[in-house]
Symmetry: C2
Subunit: 350 residues, 2 copies
């Protein structure tokens, strides 16, 4: 066992960062997403927290130490090794017994107990789909839900069959795979919560080698479900539109119709700005980018467009300036270094 | 309590046929669907059966008495009144104790125990969606699954928002609501089993005031998922096509794009014929119709087409004859008395 520090917590973790499925798991690359989670929770009244796939317990321990107002965390893991490690780490961090509870159950069985929480975090190996099917049972109205997915190939449309098998979304190769992945994940959350008459309002979403979103759980599912739509994507010129169009209105090529996917916001701008003031550890750059990003449901990847036009890729700053000069809104996106978000239907290369 | 006879079983049932949610429920209108179920099971090697929402226990008792080879039925109901009634009815029918087991759990919690069965029947109040999300945990490969849904308005596209909220399918008013309903139900079964790497092959599907399908559970989900597609429906001339077409190729009206929905078979013809020889109680007419129905994914309702054309409705026999004379395949459908199934893209009124 190795002792590491993350945020205000000190935890023992297994020696290898990436271990077998049967072993307890600590992923240092997820530190950023836990930093975001902790900062997010600080903005809400969160008393009872459930970490249903707790592994080392690092997330829950950080929440107990770094978020004021949290009364109690229920740590759960089906792996007995994980349960022992969580106990050890809670002691190491001197967390009083009344502030936590540990269970060793299948996460879905735990959800079926229908005990309600203010924050639940689903951070599994691979796809979260099996857990999404039942998490609605434990979410209070106005609670927070965080979901991580590491089956990036399926979510981003690289593995279209797996995407349809798990999330029921027609996907495919595009020039905005990371945005597609985030949106497929949010779609699946919305559809699975809708069965419980609940909905999800994304506050912050990001992508790395994983996809992650955190948002508010509300009533009235139909309002948000109406923003789940089919979209049309031109494989030739990368033009995209919300709605069904069988022929590209830019280059007349046959489009691919993808979806159904969430076309609403993936970030709440006010929230992003407040997140910056509550953010204590780690890199702020991504959050800065998110807070400045415009709310368009897609980005255009200049590299890929240039390649398909057999031109050299222009400077991203110039393209954004150019679009703004023409009266459009435009910004970078945190999801792609060469990506541009805009409300224009075309990207103008200069 | 009233004593009634259904198939070879005698059961006590609550006095009113339609009772409150909190009461045990016996629906005499479901007798036909239980007759079909019993006859279906006779064709397969079924040893262990789960009735997770057993109510009076009538289905499981009939299976024990009427299907050879069934070793044991697990009756489950969360309602303590139902559990008492099941015990009483098992005694009334002199079922030996080793042939049954009774549990009083939430059906989903029971599914999460992951014990496997050869036949599972989901027959809830209203929508089966919450149970579909977890039934994959208890289905053996080559097992049978039966699903009933009584939320007919949502499934048939009358309540499009509810259809999307529960089943993730864009629906709407059509001239083939019963076929749409059956297909939305099958789509949802397929998508929920796919997460468990399982698929569903419909053997027999029917509609009444409820929708019902029974089929085989297999591996290799992708093969069947590829038959889930978007469809295009013309609200003016009722023309329909598999795939996305924004303009009707018959009358040029803007189409409605619905789906994703299952476009494969809803009946297995061989199975229907064998079902007739195994069918002991009740009306055979529906099964006869099913066994003669052609495998087109939609029907055309002559009444509605005639109405929209401001003509009087022709005789269904004449339309079918007419189509056949032109070299198309055509048949009636058990789903609609004025419905025609055909591989022609048009219905020719004479």
């Amino acid at each position: 066992m190795k002792k590491i520090r993350e945020g205000l917590a000190e935890v023992f973790v297994p020696p290898e960062s990436l271990t077998k499925r049967s072993e307890t798991f600590y992923n240092p690359e997820m530190e950023h997403q836990r930093n975001v989670t902790v900062a997010s929770l600080r903005m809400f009244k969160v008393e009872e927290v459930l970490d249903p796939l707790a592994a080392t317990g690092v997330r829950g321990i950080r929440i107990l130490k770094e978020v004021r107002g949290v009364r109690r965390v229920l740590f759960n893991d089906i792996n007995p090794k994980a349960v022992k490690l969580i106990e050890k780490n809670l002691k190491l961090n001197k967390i009083p017994k009344k502030r936590y509870e540990i269970q060793k159950r299948d996460a879905n069985s735990l959800f079926l107990k229908k005990r309600k929480f203010d924050f639940v975090d689903i951070d599994p190996f691979g796809s979260p789909i099996r857990y999404l099917k039942n998490v609605g049972y434990v979410l209070r109205k106005n609670s927070l839900l965080g979901v991580t997915a590491t089956d990036s190939g399926a979510l981003a449309g690289k593995f279209a069959k797996a995407c349809f098998r798990r999330y029921g979304v027609f996907a495919g190769k595009t020039d905005f795979p990371k945005e597609l992945g985030v949106r497929v994940l949010i779609t699946s959350i919305l559809q699975n919560l809708a069965v419980h008459e609940l909905t999800f309002e994304p506050l912050y979403s990001h992508a790395n080698h994983y996809f992650r979103t955190i948002g508010l759980v509300k009533h009235n599912p139909d309002k948000n479900l109406s923003k789940i739509k089919m979209i049309s994507y031109c494989p030739k010129c990368h033009n995209k539109k919300i709605g069904i169009e069988t022929k590209c209105n830019n280059c007349s090529e046959k489009t691919n119709v993808l979806g159904p996917i969430w076309t609403g916001k993936i970030q709440d701008k006010d929230f992003c700005r407040k997140l910056l003031t509550n953010f204590e550890f780690g890199n702020r750059k991504e959050i800065m980018l998110c807070s400045e990003e415009i709310d368009s449901p897609f980005y255009y990847d200049l590299h890929r467009i240039a390649k398909s036009m057999k031109k050299s890729s222009p400077k991203i700053e110039n393209v954004i300036e150019n679009l703004k000069r023409k009266g459009f809104r435009a910004s970078r996106t945190h999801l792609c270094a060469t990506g541009v978000k805009t409300n224009s239907e075309r990207i103008f290369f200069c």
